[in-house]
Chain length 128, copies 6
């Protein structure tokens, strides 16, 4: 393998959110097809994010914190997309990321840099 | 040391929230007195939880997720107390804990059991 | 609160496995009663540990590794009990803990000390 | 650096397992040459995975769980290769990943997607 | 079990460092007797902390950071004792804990409170 | 997106440290511009690494351990660069990484491989 395909670790996110969504859906489809329990887990995950005593938008911010805390880059992108769809404002996302930063410290900074970069490409959050 | 002081690991929280608050304040005071940077960090932490684009109640729920994700028992109790003070409902707390459970899996269950036990002793959340 | 109730952090586990099992069941019952999603999650967790392509005994050893990796003391005790019930041998448990030690390093040692202490109180694993 | 070298975060694994094995061996050789303690650690790691009270195949599944729990992508690929060599079946791998998923939650999903993709390129596990 | 043995989670460390050292040694002895690999691991761990290009005192501070990062209470106490023996100053310990705090965030605060409390009982570090 | 842009997971670090430094600075600038609290956090982080009771070189080694413990690749590179600037020797870095390895186990190995590769490209540490 050529060394030149190695990405810069502190990259800007350069793929489109649409391509991300597609690849994610394909990977999840493969996972679901691999065993019944995966399907059940996805259903449970979906149920946790339904509107209830908390609105969906708030739940997506909670999911964003879960994702930063576990350093899950793709999870962060997913919840940013969902925040965008649910009309969460840029300031609300930023305040959420700040709580994660203070709570989990400077080791979250590289992921927060990527989150800000990804957010700038989203239809609503990228404009404000 | 006598073995009889060993607590059951799956205990119900038996101390009063008031005693917890006092001991926490004393420990933090000692920490603040140990070096200027601790004081600055506490100020920053406090700033992250001030009302802004998100209301304080939502931020406390975000802090609750941070705490469960890092398995920080005392942090969980602190944010439950703050939720109680801010008028968060029991169902809102439960839905928040469910998002943490689905996000971080069954290893969070013992801490969630303790959270439910602690919550039952809080003035508002313990009633509903 | 008197300071004398503070347990030694490097305690031997002094409660009986039977008392542990009871307290755990009570806590889980409370959790299940707090919201439907908890019940569904427990069902999913149970399904993952059913016999399939792997025997139950092997799955309990996998669960033991999950528990050590997340530093979940009560999860470790639970899976040790299940190993005891499923006829896993002491050497099999020890080899499993060694893989966790090499994989996750010396920070797991305090939990491994507790696991060995708890194991010595189990009906089958405690004898060998 | 051109932005175009940034990989999609939810990629399919596109390198061959053989290339992976080569690069890994080179990196480990460099590490071993950097200090005696690295060599000793590798020896200890190797010893933990030798056949004993548990067969090698089971130990590789335990190592797979260690790897998912710590979100170590390369460790996952390594243990999948070893599972392939030891004749572990696809269903056994899938059940192991399901235990990790239930234990550590939805934040493991992106790594599980990659694991399934990598597995599909292995000589035995990729066929079934 | 009586609920009254439940310690306050935000306790001051009340056991003596000498009792801690004894219990730790006993637990480690049991672990070493459980399998050869444990003994080898302890030897490797000991080797990493020997004087070399870095003095022992610095290595103990590095070990303190390892311990805080993994939220390992007993590991923290052990390395504080070793710092005390190696003549590390109180300010050096405090600056080390501050780096861990900034790096890993406010979820480390409860452990830092305990570390400060334990340190106050050590022969040298407790005086200054 | 073409699959061919997928990097080998066990890559050698192929970007120049200079390019890394530039991209990092740009990302941090964007983050700082996103909210006052980020700026304050960076200031606090900077303060923790100032010379005090411990010299800057030692603090950078502490920061290196923080980074390995949280599996933060970019943080590792940053602290390696700072070690290089502060005149830390290669043996001192290696001994620090060994303490992290023994403390956090074999799951750190892939990151340690990358650290050694990155170090070999630094002006001072790369020569020795």
């Amino acid at each position: 393998m050529s060394e030149s395909t190695r990405p810069h670790p502190d990259h800007a996110a350069t793929f489109s959110p649409a391509a991300f969504r597609l690849a994610r859906a394909e990977g999840n489809k493969r996972l679901r097809g691999s065993g019944e329990l995966f399907e059940s887990f996805f259903a449970l995950d979906g149920a946790a994010y339904q509107a209830g005593a908390l609105p969906v938008a708030t739940k997506e911010l909670l999911g964003l914190v879960v994702s930063v805390m576990k350093d899950c880059e793709e999870c962060v992108y997913y919840h940013l997309e969902r925040c965008d769809e649910e009309g969460v404002s840029r300031d609300q996302v930023v305040e959420t990321l700040q709580i994660a930063l203070v709570g989990a410290g400077s080791v979250t900074v590289p992921l927060l840099r990527r989150a800000m970069s990804f957010m700038s490409r989203l239809p609503r959050l990228g404009v404000s």
